[in-house]
Structure formats: structure tokens, C-alpha cells
């Protein structure tokens, strides 16, 4: 049964909707203003400056596409992009896998579960500067360095982890893995708790093993979380700066230079601010492409 709304009810509904809209706009205003002011404006300024020759001291001069032309022949910039890709390709899958394993283990009722969760999450909430200082100590190249002491037990080393170009990038990747597990585990843990228990019961009734339940129930149900983790990890990876700045300063022989560090060098050591902005625009484009590809590969939907 339905009843036609009276004109008075329509007016009331409309005024309620108008009031809701006003409140909605009012509540969204601070975040919108913040986004426009601190993200929107800098993006526009960066885009405009990317077409100029600007050295901070003198006024910018329009230079057309010159900066973009320089980037395409700048070997060090593309090498830095490659390092980001390597760190992402090696570090993200490993840390995601370990995070998932930890999440599954710590989702079970085991003694000291809370303590273990805190321990795994701790590196994420520790300031990167502190993390880098700790790893500088761990990677101390002398035979007294913690890592070298451990390797010395099996007769390896001492190794110059951060000063040998063949080892430095791998050493940085290890730190990113260690630091990245905590947040990924937390997201997986939250997602695991949202998986419907009836699915496992149904799988049990069908006689599924632990591994079958993991691969056919857990992993597919975690797909939205996996997509989210992948995207945020990719973006975070391309934003890595402080770790490199403290651990290696992009060296030795630029073997650990990453995009953000290269942009910093271009802007604040070479004072080619226009070029640095063009590099930033390219970085933005890279991130958009990666986000698109990730969506395709992992199969994220609009609901993710």
C-alpha cells in the first residue's frame, strides 16, 4: 500500500534535505579547504613551475617543454625511478606475504597475541629517522656491527652493506620490508575479522584443509584489503625519502638514489627548481599509471 505525500510533507522533506545539504557542505568544508589549499594549489603551482627555468634566487622564466626534454635524457632520474621499481617489486610482495602470514597467525587465539601484535606493528609507528639510525647501527660495516656479527657466525663477512653499490639497494629493501610489515598486518588483521565465519564452516563441512581454506576462502575474501595495501604501498614506496636521506644519501655511486631524493637534489642542491617540479609531475603520472595497473591486476572494484 502506498500513500501520496501531501504538499506539506514534500515541503518539509525538501527543507530537511536542504538543511542536510548545508550541514554536509559545512562539515566537508574544512577538509575541502585543506585539500584545495595544501594539495590543490601546490599541484597547480608545481605544474606551472615545471615549464620554467627557476633557481630560487632569480624570478622564474618560461622555458616551454625544456625541463621535460631534459628529464627524458637524464639517466640519473630514470635510474632513480628504476630503483623505486626494484624496491617496490621486491619489497612490497615480500612484506605483503609476511604481513598476511603474521595476520593469519595473530588472528588465532595464541598466548601473548596482543604483545606479538604490538611487536610487529612497532616499526611502523617508529619515526623513520629513528628506524634509519637503528639500521645504520645494525649495518655497521665493521666486524662489530650487529648484522656482521650474525653473519660472522656462519662465516660470512664482514660486509659493507651501505657502502658497496652491489649491496646497498638490497640493504635498503630489507629495511623497507621490516618497516612495512606492521601496517599491512594491521589492515589484513582487520579484514580477516570481517570474513564471514560461515564460509569457513561451509568449507569445513566440505572437508577443506587449512591450506585449501586459506587459498580458496581467506585470500579471495581479502582481495579488497590486498588492493588497498598494494596501492598505498606503491605510493608510499615512491614517496620514500627520509630513509634514503639518512641511510645512504642516494649513494654509493647513486646506487640507492630514488625519485624523491633525486627531486630533492635537483631542487635544493642544484637549484633547478623548474626541473624538479617537472620531475614531480612525472612522478605523479607514474603513480597514476601504477594505481591503474594495480587495479587491473588485483581486480579492485569501485567498492574497494
Amino acid at each position: 500500500m502506498s500513500a501520496a505525500a501531501s504538499p506539506t510533507t514534500d515541503v518539509r522533506r525538501r527543507s530537511v534535505r536542504t538543511a542536510e545539504r548545508r550541514w554536509g557542505l559545512l562539515l566537508a568544508a574544512p577538509a575541502t579547504l585543506h585539500t584545495l589549499l595544501w594539495i590543490g594549489v601546490p599541484i597547480i603551482v608545481a605544474f606551472v613551475l615545471s615549464f620554467t627555468a627557476y633557481d630560487i634566487i632569480h624570478a622564474p622564466e618560461f622555458s616551454g617543454f625544456e625541463n621535460y626534454a631534459i628529464i627524458f635524457t637524464d639517466g640519473l632520474f630514470w635510474r632513480s625511478v628504476l630503483h623505486n621499481v626494484i624496491i617496490a617489486a621486491v619489497g612490497i610482495p615480500i612484506s605483503m606475504f609476511l604481513a598476511l602470514v603474521f595476520a593469519v597467525l595473530l588472528n588465532r587465539a595464541i598466548p601473548g597475541r596482543g604483545l606479538f601484535r604490538v611487536m610487529v606493528f612497532l616499526p611502523h609507528i617508529t619515526a623513520t629517522v629513528a628506524v634509519a639510525m637503528i639500521w645504520l647501527w645494525i649495518y655497521n660495516p665493521s666486524e662489530n656491527g650487529l648484522m656482521n656479527v650474525v653473519l660472522g657466525v656462519v662465516g660470512i663477512g664482514p660486509l659493507p652493506f651501505l657502502t658497496n653499490p652491489d649491496l646497498a639497494l638490497a640493504s635498503v629493501i630489507l629495511v623497507t620490508i621490516w618497516q612495512g610489515i606492521g601496517l599491512k598486518m594491521l589492515i589484513y588483521l582487520a579484514a580477516l575479522q570481517g570474513v564471514d565465519g560461515q564460509l569457513y564452516e561451509a568449507a569445513d563441512l566440505d572437508g577443506a584443509s587449512f591450506v585449501q581454506k586459506f587459498t580458496h576462502v581467506t585470500v579471495p575474501m581479502l582481495r579488497p584489503a590486498t588492493f588497498f595495501i598494494l596501492i598505498t604501498s606503491l605510493i608510499a614506496n615512491f614517496q620514500t625519502f627520509d630513509l634514503i636521506y639518512i641511510l645512504t644519501e642516494g649513494g654509493p655511486a647513486n646506487s640507492t638514489s630514488v625519485v624523491t631524493y633525486r627531486i630533492y637534489q635537483t631542487a635544493f642542491q642544484e637549484f633547478r627548481v623548474g626541473l624538479a617540479n617537472a620531475q614531480s609531475v612525472i612522478l605523479l603520472l607514474i603513480l597514476i599509471v601504477l594505481a591503474f595497473l594495480s587495479r587491473r591486476i588485483v581486480g579492485g572494484s569501485d567498492d574497494d
Binding site: 660495516p141 655511486a253 646506487s255
Partner: protein, 373 residues
């Protein structure tokens, strides 16, 4: 120390107050430039060797009157880095001079009686001293400068320079540059230099730990030795010698250090000038340099126990005329220096050949110089 012993007497005498903004060397470049862009710049700026020409060219450093400089009586070798286009824009306040140190008992054990006087002899001695867990020459551990400065030092030893006199043409890629890189690679091949031998942060250098028989040493190392390995500061515990010439010329010392300039944008130029004169007064030069193990730009300072007790400072002062190996020389150097580190490391880690490295160096310098405006 700076506040109490150097600034306080100036304030007392003139009534001018001085506030100091201390910045790490690695951040100084961006601090000055962003300060200028933001309209906040110190009246007096302390920078390093190689910095004067870039900031003078940009109009940030004010010219210093020649008659004032002449009155100081500084040696020409320490004034060269302060010049741009024939005029002075900075003055040396503290020098950090580098040369070579050795353990005399290790020389003695191998029957070596005199420090080497040519690059060939240095290579031979380094090789002879290598073995039994000891490296002949610690040249790249970072305890007295990185790969870039190590290269520049040898470049001068082989008779080269980084740039032409006018700073508009790169010369570091020429024959002396090739000889410098090849010399380091040859010593690494023989084991006399170990690229992987490093000085971990906060720990004694390989030379201090007697893991190296000879080492590149800086005058600024002395306070660290006093703290960590005081036995090295005893009479006769360490020997020092100048970097021998590689092309039959004179031996050389590498010159780093702190140079003072007055900002051309300063609203307090007179006060800044007065404070500069105060800082360069022989008495205060002695006090300031003694505290940090650096070398005053002139030997004509009042007697100072700390300076006289430092073997490294004494040796440097006696040999100031050889302090000719300096970085920079072009107004584009700030855009070159950091990238030069990576290029040099690329050669030393065999990622690039000597020829490729020299080509990269030339290309880097040409590109930066072409952007000067």
C-alpha cells in the same frame, strides 16, 4: 665556546648583539638559498671552499675591499678560494687542511726510513705496508673527506686543476684527472687501498685502530684523536707528510675550511663588517680555531697552547704555502659538487671505466656552466 670567547668580547666592545644560526654543512646550501628566496638572510655567512664563486656570481656575497684584505697579510694560497673574477667576496677564518699520516713503528718494521716523496714511492710504500690485516693506505674511508675530495686532492697532486682560471671551462677530465683516478684504481687492485674499509659513525677510523699504516688525515681529526685514541697524540706516535707530487711539481695539501662573507642583502653591513674584522683578529682566530682543531689562515697569531700541542695544526701552519689543492673555481660549482661524488664513486666501484667517468665529469661540468646566467 664561540658565544663566550669570541662573540661576547665583540658585543662588550661594540654593543652590537650577534645571534648565531648553526647549520649542518649538508643543509647549508639549501638554507642560504631558501633564506634568500624568503627574504631572510644572515648578515654574515660562513661557507666553505668552492662556495664563494657561486654565491658571488648570484650577487649574494658583497665584495670585500682589497685594502682590508692586504692588511691581513694572509698567504696567497689561502686567499685563492675567496676570489671571483679578480675580486674578493669571502675570507678564510678556519682552514681544514689535509695531508698524509703514518704509523712510524709500521714504517720501521718494514725498514722504511723516510716518508715517500713521489707518487710512485707512495704506491710502493703503501703496497709494502699492506698485509697481516693492515691496509697500506686508508684513502677512502671517509675519515677525512669523501670520494670527490679524495679525487680532487690527487688531481692537484698530478698537476691538474678542476676548472680554467675564469671558471668557464672544465679541466678536471684532462690527463691529470685520468692519472688520479687510475692511481686510486691501481692501489685498489694491489690491495694497498681498500674501498670497503670504512670509518663507521662515532667509531675510531681504521688509521686510529691501526688497521691502516698510512692515512689521509685532516687537521680537524686531532680533537677526535685526543678523545678516542689519546696515545696517537703523544710525541712521535704519528708521522705526517705532504701529498707527494705526481708530475714532478711541488707536494700539495688539500684545503678545506670555513670562509666568511657579508651578505649583499644585509641591512647591517657596517656591523657585519666590524664583526668580520673581529673574527679575523689574530687573537680570536687562535681561540676559535684551537677549539675545533682547525688551522688559522695565518701563522701570525698569539701563542696558543692548544694549537701548538696539535701535531696536525703545527704541520699545516708550517706548510701553508702548499695548501693549493682546493675544490671549486667555477660559479656553477654548487650544481656540480654533489653529483661529482656519485660519478667518482661509480669509477671507484668499477661501475664505470676511467674514460667514461672523465666523460661524465666533463658533461656534468659543461652542462652546469652552460646554465650560468
Amino acid at each position: 665556546m664561540l658565544d663566550e670567547d669570541v662573540i661576547a668580547p665583540f658585543t662588550e666592545r661594540t654593543g652590537v648583539t650577534v645571534s648565531v644560526d648553526q647549520v649542518d654543512w649538508n643543509k647549508l646550501n639549501e638554507k642560504i638559498s631558501t633564506g634568500i628566496a624568503g627574504g631572510i638572510i644572515a648578515d654574515l655567512i660562513m661557507t666553505g671552499v668552492g662556495w664563494t664563486q657561486p654565491f658571488a656570481q648570484k650577487g649574494i656575497f658583497a665584495e670585500i675591499p682589497a685594502d682590508f684584505i692586504e692588511s691581513l697579510g694572509f698567504d696567497e694560497s689561502v686567499l685563492a678560494p675567496a676570489r671571483f673574477e679578480g675580486r674578493y667576496y669571502s675570507l678564510p677564518q678556519a682552514l681544514d687542511l689535509r695531508f698524509l699520516g703514518y704509523h712510524p713503528e709500521m714504517f720501521e718494521a718494514k725498514g722504511i726510513t723516510e716518508p715517500p716523496t713521489t707518487m710512485e714511492e707512495l704506491a710502493d710504500v703503501a703496497q709494502e705496508l699492506t698485509g697481516d690485516g693492515v691496509v697500506g693506505l686508508d684513502y677512502l674511508s671517509g675519515s677525512a673527506g669523501g670520494a670527490r675530495q679524495a679525487f680532487v686532492f690527487l688531481l692537484y697532486a698530478f698537476g691538474g686543476t678542476m676548472f680554467s682560471e675564469d671558471g668557464l671551462t672544465a679541466t678536471l677530465h684532462e690527463e691529470p684527472g685520468r692519472l688520479a683516478l687510475q692511481w686510486m684504481l691501481d692501489q685498489m687492485d694491489s690491495g694497498a687501498i681498500d674501498y670497503d674499509l670504512r670509518a663507521p659513525e662515532g667509531q675510531p677510523s681504521p688509521f686510529q685502530q691501526r688497521k691502516a699504516a698510512m692515512s689521509l688525515v685532516a687537521t680537524g681529526n686531532w680533537p677526535t684523536w685526543q678523545q678516542m685514541t689519546p696515545e696517537l697524540c703523544e710525541e712521535g706516535a704519528v708521522g705526517v707528510f705532504l701529498m707527494p707530487p705526481g708530475a714532478g711539481g711541488k707536494p700539495v695539501m688539500f684545503q678545506g675550511g670555513t670562509f666568511i662573507s657579508i651578505s649583499s642583502l644585509s641591512q647591517n653591513k657596517d656591523a657585519a663588517g666590524a664583526f668580520m674584522k673581529h673574527m679575523l683578529d689574530p687573537e680570536f682566530l687562535g681561540i676559535a680555531n684551537a677549539a675545533i682543531g682547525k688551522v688559522p689562515p695565518t701563522p701570525d697569531i698569539p701563542a696558543n697552547d692548544e694549537i701548538e700541542s696539535s701535531l696536525l695544526t703545527r704541520f699545516a701552519l708550517e706548510n701553508l704555502e702548499y695548501a693549493g689543492a682546493t675544490e671549486g673555481g667555477t660559479a656553477a660549482y654548487m650544481q656540480i659538487r654533489t653529483n661529482l661524488d656519485g660519478i667518482t664513486e661509480g669509477c671507484l666501484t668499477r661501475k664505470k671505466s676511467v674514460d667514461e667517468t672523465l666523460e661524465d665529469m666533463k658533461s656534468l661540468c659543461d652542462d652546469a656552466i652552460s646554465r650560468l646566467r
